[in-house]
């Protein structure tokens, strides 16, 4: 299913670099969003109960 690597590269190196940069930023934002979501879920679900645990 995967095409040869040279087929995956653009003819225009500048356009390829710009597109790659955009994809990398989008991926980074996606990962940051996921981390933030897990943090928020943890805080909300634990809520006040976090203080009830035995020390």
């Amino acid at each position: 299913m995967s095409a040869p690597l040279q087929d995956r590269r653009s003819q225009d190196p500048q356009a390829e670099a710009k597109a790659r940069r955009g994809r990398n930023i989008a991926l980074a934002l996606g990962l940051v969003l996921f981390v933030v979501l897990v943090f928020v879920v943890t805080v909300v679900r634990l809520g006040a109960s976090v203080a009830d645990r035995p020390l």
Binding site: M1, A3, A15, A19, R23, L37, V38, V40, V41
Partner: protein, 323 residues
């Protein structure tokens, strides 16, 4: 899945927007809307922040199944006007990348929904992704004209997932919302396929007008409409919908039936020597009735769910409140 040479040729570098297109954002918006309706109608003790994250997970899960669909159907998408500009058939995104995106988003959305709400909702989301990607896309779509009837279950489940996310249960009223979308799907898609059947035929997809003919499809649209419209009234008597809902469902249902009857009496989908290559949505004169039903079906379903949403948010009176 055969892949045409054009599919493996990258015409331009893939941008992040192309990956967003893999998730079918327009379909995703409908999923978000129906899932929110399910979540709000459940009136469960859900935290608003967790509720919003649950809806995000359901939307991402829907996007994941769309990405699987784009990967698997690239060969037939390339043959149809409506779909040939999609990222995979147009060569912008590799099929393997679409598959990887589908896998990653499926895992993340299901796991996060489970952690955020409960595992019933997460299980239903996983089942929905599996049903759309495997049962509908890989099996039914290319093998039977009943593809969109059975496959419609995937599109009908989001309100049940939303309900389960809010309460941890899926009672009768949740499945009633599911049944409404399920019964809505055949007249909706068959009305569309009546005037796009040449595309489906070219791609070898056995849509009802291609295999059974236009006349049979028009008859089945009418039968499903006769079953669908009374079903839309039922929520008013199960405590789910109120008086406003009853009025909207009854009036809209009447219009729906009139439009379905017109399609039945028309020659929509028949090849009577007319050609119109101007554009995808330029419809032959004989198929105008089918186009009208297709357009109204979207409006009607939107109105039904918007009314339910408004009634629960504004606490409008239920049927029997004035007795």
């Amino acid at each position: 899945m055969a892949m045409s040479p054009a599919l493996s040729r990258a015409s331009s570098p893939a941008r992040w927007q192309d990956y967003v297109q893999l998730l079918k954002p327009r379909v995703m918006s409908l999923v978000i809307f129906t899932a929110i309706t399910g979540l709000v109608c459940a009136q469960g003790p859900v935290n608003p922040v967790l509720g919003a994250i649950a809806i995000l997970c359901i939307a991402v899960g829907a996007g994941a199944s769309a990405s699987f669909n784009m990967w698997y159907d690239a060969d037939i998408d390339a043959k149809m006007r409506r779909t040939r500009a999609r990222p995979v058939p147009s060569g912008k995104v590799q099929g393997a990348d679409a598959l990887a995106l589908g896998v990653v988003l499926s895992l993340f959305s299901v796991m996060l929904l489970g952690m955020t709400t409960n595992w019933l909702a997460a299980g239903l989301l996983a089942f929905t992704i599996f049903f759309y990607a495997v049962v509908y896309t890989m099996w039914l779509k290319r093998s039977t004209p009943q593809n969109i009837v059975i496959g419609g279950l995937a599109g009908a489940l989001p309100p049940v997932i939303g309900w389960a996310a809010a309460t941890g249960a899926a009672p009768l009223n949740a499945w009633l919302l599911c049944a409404i979308i399920f019964m809505w799907t055949p007249p909706h898609f068959w009305a569309l396929s009546l005037y796009t059947s040449e595309d489906y035929e070219k791609a070898g997809v056995p849509m009802m007008p291609v295999t059974a003919g236009a006349a049979s499809t028009r008859k089945q649209i009418l039968i499903y409409s006769l079953l669908f419209t009374p079903l839309c009234i039922v929520p008013a008597f199960t405590g789910l919908g109120g008086l406003t809902y009853l009025a909207v469902a009854a009036a809209g249902g009447l219009v729906f039936l009139v439009l379905a009857w017109r399609v039945f009496r028309s020659r929509a989908g028949e090849r009577i020597g007319e050609r119109n290559d101007d554009g995808l949505y330029d419809v032959k004169a004989s198929s105008k009735d089918a186009r009208n039903l297709f357009a109204f079906s979207i409006l009607y379903l939107t109105l039904l769910f918007a009314t339910l949403l408004a009634e629960h948010l504004l606490d409008l009176p239920a049927v029997g409140a004035f007795q």
